[in-house]
């Protein structure tokens, strides 16, 4: 298991709209093993007839930020999709535990209510549903699941305004349809805005940096960093090292051909930036020559 390092910046959310999320027990009954926030064990996943993930093991503790890097087609996005419970992927082996609970048994909405949030690589446009209404509906679904009262539009407004400010978004975004006609940067900011409103226990950022200019990237990273907390874990999926200059991870894992072939600290990302993915891919082939 990977040890727990304190994240570089700790910014506590000023106010939680969700109340307390069920905390992971410090020790399992009858034992004294520390339960990770997320544990992925020997995960095998198929999609459209191909094996994409070929045995992933990963443990993520509360308070940590992990980055999953890898070349195109290595299975990064598949891992993110499986964690958010997209049903078009077939899990053929292994397990995923979220705070000790079987994540693979959960539907997408239940996983979200248990604290999983994925910022989409390609956020979906939903004409006809206002952004604020959408977020309030989502927040209330999660609050209801956790036994909290629902927020009406009046109660929701100050919270929403505060988060808009964090992401430097215009208040007009409240009444516009979800992602409809948004620029690429606006869509990504809108994802982080949702994350800020929903305050997940596990946040997964799926290539949130792709297509962002440097200004948008800074704003997004600022939003993400503001959400780092000892109660929360993050998985940042990215192809490029650039985002990791702004969101400094505690751990970096390199995914090649459906396996994690290397793990290290933030310095690993810099090494990948300067040397490319070729050397890890070559190493991976030496370790597992029969995998193809």
């Amino acid at each position: 298991m990977i040890g727990a390092l304190a994240p570089a910046s700790l910014i506590y959310p000023a106010k939680s709209a969700l109340g307390n999320i069920s905390q992971a027990p410090d020790s399992a009954p009858g034992g004294n093993r520390i339960v990770s926030l997320l544990e992925i064990k020997n995960l095998h996943v198929r999609a459209s007839g191909h094996e994409i993930l070929k045995g992933i093991d990963l443990a993520v503790n509360a308070g940590e930020v992990h980055s999953i890097m890898g070349p195109n087609g290595s299975g990064k996005s598949t891992l993110a999709q499986v964690l958010s419970r997209r049903e078009s992927y077939e899990v053929t082996g292994g397990e995923i535990l979220l705070d000790g609970k079987d994540l693979l048994a959960m539907k997408p909405d239940q996983a979200a209510c248990e604290g999983v949030f994925m910022a989409f690589q390609y956020p979906v446009e939903i004409p006809g549903i206002g952004n604020a209404y959408f977020m309030r509906t989502a927040l209330n679904a999660i609050r209801k699941y956790r036994g909290h009262d629902e927020l009406d539009a009046i109660d929701f407004l100050p919270l929403f305004r505060e988060k808009l400010k964090l992401l430097e978004m215009d208040e007009k975004m409240m009444s516009r349809s979800v992602n409809e006609g948004f620029s690429g940067g606006e869509k990504k900011r809108n994802e982080i805005l949702q994350m800020a409103v929903l305050e997940p226990r596990l946040a997964i950022l799926d290539e949130t940096d792709s297509g962002l200019d440097i200004d948008a990237m800074r704003i997004v990273a600022h939003g993400v960093n503001a959400m780092r907390s000892p109660d929360r874990a993050m998985i940042v999926v990215t192809h490029y090292q650039r985002l990791l200059n702004y969101i400094v991870p505690d751990f970096v894992h390199v995914l090649v051909d459906g396996r994690i072939v290397r793990s290290g600290g933030a310095e690993l990302a810099h090494e990948l930036e300067s040397r490319g993915y070729g050397w890890v891919e070559a190493e991976a082939r030496q370790v597992a020559p029969a995998s193809a």
Binding site: S84, R85, R86, E87, K107, P108, D109, A111, A112, C113, F117, M118, F120, P123, V124, I126, P127, G128, I129, G130, N131, A132, Y133, F134, M135, R136, T137, A138, L139, A141, I142, Y145, D152, A153, I154, K172, M174, S175, R176, S177, E180, G181, Q194, L198
Partner: protein
């Protein structure tokens, strides 16, 4: 199809009885109109699917049922509480029970001078000259047997008259209640709406049923006359029970630069045919023809649009959205006729459909007949399902599957609502749609729809 002899006998009997009963109060011009219409109906009978205008809608169930005029229970007030059908903020509400005006259930508050809202029957008896001038002048009884049948049985309905320059901002609510007797009943509500030059009005027709689910035929017709530069919003909500046959025809006559919006919301009924027939008969007129139909079970909802451009520089926009579940069947027939003189016509037509089940069906048919050479006519139709990507996106944020589906339906239906002018009539239509889609009401209904975004004004949509 000739009317089957047994049924023809019933129609003949009811027609003769009605003529006898109302002989005293019926002016000769109306008797002639009724006679002509009845003769026309007997001549052509009910249409069949061999008729191009009825290709997708089989009305055999209507043709073989013996409907009678509900004479016995006409003065019996319904015991049901009508509170659910009161419109907040209406200028007036006229209630009709089985086709007959019920003053006890109606409320006409203080209306501006120059506005008349009353029962057509009362105005006929009173000999109001405008009625003789306009009634039956626009509706085409030769083309449509149901219009002929309605005209043959003209007896009551709403009469709305707004004099030149008068602006009536609050809507007029016309509530048509079918009570469902022991045997199949038919009603033929007939409405006449005259909004003169530079005047403005909003009228909402609301078709509901109470009591037993006996098969019933509601065959309504409305003639709407918009004078020069007049501004009229017409909204129709149809939510009768699932044994009813609801036929309605809205014939709109638009003068120079008149602006008319027709909004149709079809939610109930077993077999529904919604005819909207505007004639842009003055230069520079604009007409918005907007609709939503929601079907489930075995409902059949047919929308037949006939948009006639008769003069130059007119614009028409048709937008119909359909949501079909179960074995329901929807039809959108969008016919546009551009007459020879109607140069610079700008006509658009869009029909979008969501099919929620494998057995639901939609027939959508554009039909453009263009006799002018400098016009812009476009049409488009889409048929789709709930988008899985959007569904997953909502669910990934914690929204349960059924709520997420409803939210997407609400958004799709919202396109129709967005094209209505904000106000009492839209709020009322929205509540009916929400109830149909099982969407809970909003405590503060301010943020549920997108506003101000691009592409929401009707002339820009589509």
């Amino acid at each position: 199809m000739a009317v089957e002899s047994a049924q023809l006998e019933t129609y003949l009997e009811t027609f003769t009885d009605l003529a006898k009963e109302t002989a005293q109060e019926t002016p000769p011009w109306l008797r002639d109109l009724r006679d002509r219409a009845f003769a026309r109906f007997c001549e052509v009978g009910f249409p069949t699917t061999r008729d191009e205008d009825w290709r997708f809608t089989n009305i055999a169930a209507v043709a073989r049922t013996s409907f009678r005029l509900p004479r016995d229970n006409r003065d019996r007030l319904p015991q049901t509480d009508l509170a659910a059908w009161r419109m907040e903020g209406a200028a007036a509400q006229l209630a009709f029970v089985d086709g007959r005006f019920m003053p006890q259930l109606s409320s006409v508050g203080a209306l501006p001078a120059g506005v008349t809202v009353s029962s057509l029957h009362d105005e006929i008896v009173r000999g109001t000259p405008l009625i003789a001038e306009h009634l039956g002048r626009y509706l085409d009884i030769d083309r449509d047997p149901f219009s002929a049948l309605n005209t043959a049985y003209i007896e009551d309905g709403a009469y709305v008259h707004v004099r030149s320059g008068i602006v009536l901002e609050r809507p007029i609510h016309l509530l048509f209640i079918g009570t469902g007797g022991e045997s199949p009943a038919m009603t033929h509500p007939r409405n006449l709406i005259i909004v003169e030059e530079e005047a403005q009005a909003s009228i909402l027709e609301d078709y509901v049923s109470i009591g037993a689910e006996t098969p019933a035929l509601s065959n309504a017709a409305t003639e709407l006359v918009a004078g020069n530069n007049g501004n009229v919003i017409h909204t129709m909500i149809e939510r009768e029970h699932l044994s009813s046959f609801n036929f309605s025809t809205l014939r709109i006559e638009q003068a120079r630069t008149a602006n008319v919006a027709s909004h149709s919301v079809l939610l109930g009924g077993a077999l529904v045919r919604n005819n909207v027939h505007p004639v842009l008969n003055g230069e520079g007129g604009e007409c918005l023809i907007n609709g939503l139909f929601v079907g489930s079970g075995r409902q059949h909802l047919d929308n037949y649009m006939l948009v006639e451009h008769a003069k130059p520089h007119c614009a028409s926009r048709q937008f119909y959205n359909g949501i079909l579940d179960g074995h329901s069947h929807g039809v959108f027939h969008g016919r546009i006729i551009v007459h020879r003189d109607a140069q610079k016509t700008d006509a658009k037509q869009t029909n979008r459909n969501l099919l929620l089940s494998d057995d639901a069906q939609i027939d959508t048919k554009p039909q453009l007949e263009i006799y002018a050479d400098d016009v812009k006519c476009t049409h488009g139709a889409t048929i789709g399902q709930i988008e899985e990507n959007a569904l997953f996106y909502l669910r990934s944020r914690g929204i349960g599957e059924s709520d997420a589906r409803r939210l997407l339906l609400q958004a799709f239906a919202g396109e129709c609502l967005d094209r209505m002018k904000p106000g009492a009539a839209r709020d009322y239509a929205e509540a009916a749609i929400r109830a149909r889609l099982l969407i809970p009401g909003e405590d503060a209904s301010t943020d549920h729809r997108s506003e101000g975004g691009p592409g929401r004004r009707w002339e820009e949509v589509g």
